[in-house]
Amino acid sequence: MAGLFYQTIARLSADLAAKKLSAVELTQAVIARAKAVEPRIRAFNSFDESDALAQAAESDARRAAGRSRGSLEGIPIGLKDVIAVQNQPLTASSRMLANFVSPYDATVTTRLKAAGAILFGRLNCDEFAMGSSTENSAFHPTANPWDVTRVPGGSSGGSAAALAAGEAIATLGSDTGGSIRQPAAFCGVVGLKPTYGLVSRYGLIAFASSLDQIGPFARTVGDAAVLLGAIAGHDERDSTSYRVEIPDYAAALEGRRGPWKLGIPKEYFGAGLDPEIGAAVERAIDFYRGLGCEVREVSLPHTQYCLDTYYIIATAEASSNLARYDGIRYGHRASGAKDVVDLYFQSRAEGFGAEVKRRIILGTYVLSSGYYDAYYLRAQKVRTLIRRDFLAAYQQVDALITPTSPIPAFKLGEKSDPLAMYLCDVYTIGVNLAGLPGISVPCGFTAAGLPIGLQLIGQPFQEAQLLAIAHAYEREHEWSQRHPALASSG
């Protein structure tokens, strides 16, 4: 049997409830594992061991007193370093916030605590969540546990790698253009981006506010359902948060076995798709056919415009959101500035890395006088068309099946050209532009042993159905029970 650190929430919760295991023992096992593999993986920016053990002791005390809190009681969960935890560092993997300590909890943090979770560690990511490989972290890159010469994906690379390496039982990330689903695919774990508005963004460092969503990474679809249930729901502190009924996602998994109507968007299977990935996704489609699902080809005709639309909207919103980092109230302040305006210029020059600067420049440009209509306003209109494509497809089908990424994990340092890096996101960004839920589920390995992700895209706020469809695949496959070779050597 694999180590404690590779068990699911479902299994560990049962053992904790049966008193076969204490939260302190479990947390100690996860910490020991992190210490053993971190020199090779570097998934964390920091972790506070004594704080985690103190939380675990409190969890055990609550359980002993019959006051267990909820669905995550005693489960160690890691958070991407863009999600605020009171009195813990919050860096966005940027020099700008290298010394920032959060004065408050994000709403998801409050909810995880209320469910009894043990919050452990600050997980590395691309700086301000901008990137697809975690190489844009100002501190250090993170390695893919399946092949440490390769990237874990990004921007939530630390969240995916830590889970795949057994350094957490589950993690949270954020997804603006694929930043949960693509690293989940690269690291062989489940990653869910919820419908825009389902999970509060309060306490999430803003990148592109109309696209950002927080979501879970987990070993199984069932664990992702438990986490989603803990963090989803309306929050008055996020004015884009939606008032919807939150079902029991975990219970919904077994409720309905289909058959569903599934759509294959033909635009997602064109040039640039790695043949091994294409074949693995075809096998998954055949599996659904075997379940009795009706599978039909659909068209999302504006797919070719998603990337450009995304890079206009996301950089425009980023340039606006990152204007707050001016060296005055918090964050890095340059020394030797000649006046207060110069202080802004110099603090930002010193605090931001190259990709963040590039995106601020692009975003400022597309919003600037004379270019706003041609770029930003046009992109907002194309977003409407992209959204209509998806909604039209959902007139015919319940969900869509695509690859998560056109390529498997690439080598560290392989993609030095920004445009080449942006092209990694072609299959994930449409989901963000249309505000839909998307999940990446492991669906095989390449001949070289790299994980492959299957993306399922659902209808707005229909996460229960999306998770059920994903679970129907997962329960008949054993991909999620494989672990990187690191396991035996670590």
């Binding site: 004065p103 508005g197 209109k381 409407t384 445009l419």
Partner: protein, 96 residues
């Protein structure tokens, strides 16, 4: 590899309050030229009569009760300030 003749890096960097080195300007002008060249294909889309979407699911008129609630204590609010004195943030002189 392309440069976009319209992209005046100096002007945009000034708008963004971002000091760039000559090397950064040269690199960004070229890289963003490539990106903008890619983006030009959006001009081909017929968007006549299409409403812009600011959000996928716009939520309008979100109101909260106008009641005071506890906020952060001053010490905590200023905890991350780069320079402070007497419960205030210190900045370079702004008035001569």
């Amino acid at each position: 590899m392309s440069r976009n003749p319209d992209l005046n890096i100096d002007h945009v960097a000034r708008l963004a309050r971002l000091a760039l080195t000559p090397e950064e300007k040269a690199t960004f002008a070229q890289q963003l030229g490539d990106v903008l060249h890619h983006i030009e294909q959006l001009a081909k889309v017929d968007v006549s009569g299409v409403e812009p979407s600011a959000h996928a699911f716009a939520v309008n008129n979100v109101w909260q009760e106008d009641v005071a609630r506890p906020g952060l204590p001053v010490e905590q609010a200023l905890h991350n300030a780069p320079a402070q004195r007497d419960h205030m943030i210190v900045v370079p002189k702004v008035v001569e």
